[in-house]
């Protein structure tokens, strides 16, 4: 542990570590994609990465800018149509982990990527649901990664684009054929998990040097801390080196275009 690292790197490394080798992972673009590829290049060489563009089991050399970069197809085992991707692979139950980012998340892990404000007269119109609504319900479980801020971590999202555990924490109760939902949220400050009883998001691990107060300040509700609050293990030198090489390769590749 000799290398210095940023809170962003801490977040990515921690998110990457969540992915077990051999898992099939439906990967969102951006932070989830960065974490999933870091996992593949470090402890999880046989993690299967699937992007909604239809690329099955892809091994990109550099991070894709878009969900459908050519690199994803060229390095994939095969590429299927988008209807097939959503029908056979996601809804068909072949995905262990859906790895998502979001604009807003609330205390019951509901995600909002639709809009800020009122639906009819939005203050900010966001891109929309994309694949997330069905990734969150059809994958075996869901990991979420995003940066901590009071605008991102809100008590109640303005709009539930994607189900966490609903407005009351009970949104998955008695629903047949649904995945376990969010099992962990990784930010640049900490790791959170839904409480096993009422599903309220609870900090289970603080990143090194981060205080409870910092997490609370960056969260839009009174966030709970686990009784046995842990300290997130630091990134290893190898993880940092691989991540930095990946990002440098990516930057070079995209600048060239």
């Amino acid at each position: 542990m000799s290398l210095e690292y940023t809170s962003g790197e801490m977040m990515t490394v921690t998110a990457a570590r969540a992915l077990e080798n051999g898992t099939t992972c439906f990967v969102g673009i951006g932070l989830p994609s960065e974490a999933a590829n870091l996992a593949r290049l470090t402890h999880a060489p046989d993690v299967v990465l699937i992007y909604e563009s239809g690329t099955l089991q892809t091994r990109p050399e550099v991070l894709p800018l878009s969900i459908g970069d050519g690199e994803l197809c060229e390095s994939a085992l095969t590429t299927v149509s988008v209807p097939e991707m959503f029908r056979y692979w996601l809804q068909g139950g072949k995905i262990n982990v859906g790895f998502l980012g979001t604009a807003q998340i609330d205390r019951y892990c509901n995600l909002n990527t639709t809009l800020i404000g009122d639906y009819k007269a939005p203050k900010v119109r966001l891109p929309g649901g994309g694949g997330a609504p069905e990734i969150a319900t059809n994958a075996g479980e869901v990991f979420i990664t995003l940066k901590h801020s009071p605008r991102a971590f809100v008590r109640d999202v303005d709009f539930i684009t994607t189900l966490g555990f609903g407005r009351d924490g009970k949104g998955r109760d008695n629903v047949p054929n649904i995945g376990r939902g969010p099992t962990r949220v990784i930010s640049d400050l900490c790791v959170m998990k839904p409480d096993p009883e009422d599903h309220e998001l609870t900090v289970v691990s603080l990143h090194p040097g981060v205080t409870r107060e910092q997490v609370q300040e960056a969260t839009g509700w009174d966030i709970r801390f686990a009784d046995n609050l842990e300290s997130t293990p630091e990134p290893s030198d190898r993880e940092l080196e691989v991540l930095r090489e990946l990002k440098a390769r990516t930057e070079r590749a995209h600048a060239g275009q």
Binding site: V82, P83, G129, E134, T137, N138
Partner: protein, 284 residues
């Protein structure tokens, strides 16, 4: 049976004011040249369908062609927002547009159902999402065998679908390769279809299970070299990631946007671009 037309003539014949138009291509093979031709021809009141409206729909919306957008994710992939889409939705510029939004899974199934000639698509979707509260086209049915509640959405059946592909042969048979998205479904679901291609070849030279759309299922083929830029064409040219980033600045400002459309779309016929931003000028 596909007729080989100029892009101008194909758009003039099949894209009418007020039409429902699906322009597909999932990040890859986006029919940008065709979108520019629609802007040049000044079409109005279009209902634009697309899973992932990106730059070309931002341009169509900003240029005032759209009445309504049906979509599931509207952003500049990897960069951020679509500022023209946001300006129309948030501030009504150049005029207010209607939006109808779905999830990807639902739209993909709706294209599939359209291609399959069905009126509806059934999926295990929208569970716990609030999208059904703002989109009355999302309904739920009960499985007659298991009693499970499943989502149903109307199939997509556009007046005209437009896609871009690598190549066609002289009979108008088209091969799409790489990330194939919902292009085939879009063509088969539509009343009419236009496929722009990089080139016309004597022999498609494909493998037995290639994604080939027969010429008799297409209305018009138009050559549009680099017709997908700044998107890309597998085997022909890469994505112009830089332009996607540049678009963020161009599209934030109404005047900058209008100038860009003037310079790169309206007055671009017959010109070739060097920066990859322009396209649609190299037709024929």
């Amino acid at each position: 049976m596909a007729e080989i037309l100029s892009l101008h003539d194909a758009v003039a014949r099949y894209v009418e004011d007020g039409a429902t138009v699906a322009m597909e291509g999932f990040t890859h093979l986006i029919p940008v040249a065709a979108g520019h031709e629609i802007i040049r021809q000044g079409r109005r009141d279009l209902t634009l369908i697309r899973m992932t409206p990106d730059l070309v729909y931002d341009q169509l919306i900003g240029a005032g062609c759209a009445k309504k957008v049906i979509f599931s994710w509207g952003g500049n992939p990897g960069v951020g927002s679509l500022h023209r889409l946001r300006d129309a939705v948030e501030k009504g510029w150049p005029h207010q547009i209607e939006i109808l939004e779905h999830s990807h899974a639902a739209m993909a199934c709706a294209f599939e159902a359209g291609a399959a000639g069905l009126p509806l698509a059934v999926l295990r979707g929208y569970v716990g999402s609030e999208l059904p509260s703002v989109n009355e086209q999302i309904k739920f049915i009960e499985c007659p065998f298991t009693g499970e509640r499943l989502a149903a959405v109307p199939s997509v059946r556009p007046d005209v679908s437009i896609v871009h592909a690598q190549k066609a042969d002289r009979a108008g048979n088209v091969v799409v390769e790489g990330i194939i998205g919902v292009q085939k479904e879009a063509v088969l679901a539509a009343k009419h279809s236009i496929v722009t291609v990089e080139e016309i070849v004597d022999d498609l030279d494909t493998h037995p299970n290639a994604c080939v759309i027969p010429g008799w299922a297409i209305d018009a083929i138009a050559v549009a070299e680099k017709g997908s830029l700044p998107s890309y064409a597998h085997g022909y040219y890469p994505r112009d990631n830089r332009f996607y980033k540049e678009w963020d600045a161009i599209s934030r400002d109404r005047d900058a946007f209008t100038r860009w459309i003037e310079d790169n779309v309206i007055h671009s016929i017959g010109r070739h671009s060097t920066d990859g931003a322009q396209s649609g000028g190299s037709v024929q």
